[in-house]
Symmetry: C2
Subunit: 336 residues, 2 copies
DNA sequence: GTCTGGCACTCTGTGTTCCCGAGTGCCAAG
DNA sequence: CTTGGCACTCGGGAACACAGAGTGCCAGAC
């Protein structure tokens, strides 16, 4: 259907358009990409490519521009992910290694990615649900108020203030803390609810009301906080590009829910997800593409990160950067 | 120098320009603001105002536009802060009351403020330095690694992983925790360094190396974290306004340091700070104004918040919103 | 002395027209 | 199947004119 040369033409169109941001014509194309054929031949091929929907012209008698479908083919079959340079790798490594806590890791990552790709970077905080309890802490704040602190093995710390139904003595709290830690330490968060239910039955009668209050807050923390936090950086990179609806994009970026869907569900292992223009779920973001990847320590994917830019982006380079950053972050998290 | 009527004219120019975003002419002005005088008179007044630098014309024979100096006079003497409507107040209250922890309070605040003012909102996290230690927690993670968690009375939680020089038994850590809490509980963060120094001397010899490691990390947490975190929201509100250099502003917003300086130092008590156009410290932000206020529980100002928008903003309304939100946040923090 | 109406002047922004050039599609010949 | 030639199309920029809003200034009225 599409012979070698037509694919080469498509590749050339994408590459030229990406680098010049102007519709590319047959003549310029034949020259710059020594294809060994004349502009007229290129024109014929282009006509076919257009008929099949891979490229289009903004108006009669202008050059051609890739369509979403064209970019898709390019990404799937015509391009190779471009690895980062050694210098870039070292830069990533040293920059991320300086992080002091989880928050810092995520913040640094998002900035790094934005700077590296010159686009908008998006990073999701490591998911709670896949990690395990490392420690539960109860801190008395006032007579009837304690703070519940939950530390996970991914370094995340969740805290909630709990209002107690009764005044409770310190040592009963200490006891409760001990029990909690024995039961929950190392427990996968996804299995905490069962464990907690089990625990409630085994507690002595007099501890029940207080324990129930605390445990319900604990469960809430896990469930409600299903709103995984996402941050972005590099919005400034959007300015000056009028091909995207700036306002819509900025609005989308501030909607956690939209961002969630944008990064997409965990796909198979460490594969990169690319969503091009109209492929992506939010209508304000046609005109933009997403390159995303999962990251995590070891095998299990903890969360996702990616970048967002105009459909007209340099996919090979962007994909290389995203993949590299995802890997490094995984390493950092595993090691801390 | 400037009689009553000229001031009225200036006020009218500002108000009209703010609402229409177009240079305002003498005729329209005389009509809309029944000043009781003819356009010609207004023209004369305008000529004087221009000569004094309060207004200017974009080009010969266009209407007048306020200068930064004009806005300044308007804010200082010609306008009154406009209080929020009852509905708005209730909305703020219920929205903020739903927050579950400090992070949530800050996030909600920044969104609220952005939505309320339809501008970019900026909120600084409550400063560590003014708060006091409520609890210190040491959580063993591995043989030679523990997590240090510091909880302040403003609800902020800081965490750091500490690598220990030696393997340490659990009960020595427990002991250390107890000692730390006795010494530091209620201690103002600003006075922690002395207290720590004092503590180091009183510890038994064999605990020194471990304790020193932990304490130095603790001090770091306080000092290094002098980079008070600032977040913003509502960037989408900037789009569509070309009077500001979009790119510059977005870049500035992503620079913590610039944001810091922007919000300004704590001023006297709960007063509002207004920085107009060229008055503000960063050159990329001429063309924008900042309205900021301190917030805190009770008397002491914990941090600052504000909004950033085009110099051509509705100052009375914006100031009202900022003041109101600052107050409510203060209340919420005091109560939690 | 201050205000007012009148008048000539000066701009910007918009709409029109025109033309150039890049790029195309098609066709006939190699 | 490829190529060169050719007529055609359309966007974008330059030149131009024009209407409208707004000004500054002046002479007369209160």
């Amino acid at each position: 259907m599409l012979d070698e040369r037509k694919l080469a033409v498509l590749r050339a169109v994408v590459e030229d358009y990406v680098s010049t941001n102007e519709p590319v014509g047959s003549k310029a194309l034949a020259e710059r990409h020594n294809l060994g054929v004349s502009p007229a031949t290129v024109r014929n091929d282009m006509a076919v490519l257009e008929e099949q929907g891979y490229i289009t012209q903004p108006h009669t008698s202008a050059g051609r521009v890739p369509t979403d479908k064209g970019y898709r083919l390019f990404v799937d079959r015509l391009s190779q992910i471009k690895p980062l340079s050694g210098a870039e790798r070292r830069a990533i490594e040293t920059f991320l290694a300086g992080a002091v806590d989880l928050d810092d890791v995520v913040t640094r990552t998002v900035r790094l990615l934005a700077q590296l790709t010159r686009q908008v970077a998006v990073v999701q905080y490591p998911s709670l649900i896949r990690s395990a309890v490392r420690h539960v802490e109860l801190v008395p704040l006032a007579e009837r108020r304690i703070m519940l602190v939950l530390i996970t093995n991914t370094g995340r710390v969740e805290q909630r203030v709990v209002e107690l139904p009764d005044v409770v003595e310190e040592d009963r709290i200490a006891h409760l803390r001990a029990v909690l830690n024995v039961c929950l330490d190392g427990c996968r968060l996804s299995r905490v609810p069962e464990t907690v239910a089990d625990l409630q039955e085994r507690l002595p009668e007099e501890d029940r009301p207080v324990a129930n209050t605390i445990l319900s807050v604990l469960l809430e923390t896990l469930v409600d906080r299903h709103d995984e936090k996402i941050i972005f950086a590099g919005a400034a990179n959007l300015a000056g590009d009028f091909s995207v609806g700036l306002r819509e994009v900025l609005e989308a970026l501030e909607e956690q829910v939209v961002l969630m869907r944008l990064l997409g569900e965990a796909s198979d292992s460490a594969a990169l997800t690319v969503r091009i223009g109209s492929e992506n779920p939010y209508s304000g973001l046609h005109g933009t593409s997403i390159v995303a990847a999962g990251y995590g320590s070891g095998d299990n994917e903890l969360a996702r990160l990616g970048v967002l830019g105009p459909t007209r982006m340099d996919y090979p380079v962007t994909m290389g950067a995203v993949r590299a950053v995802a890997r490094y972050v995984g390493q950092i998290l595993a090691g801390s």
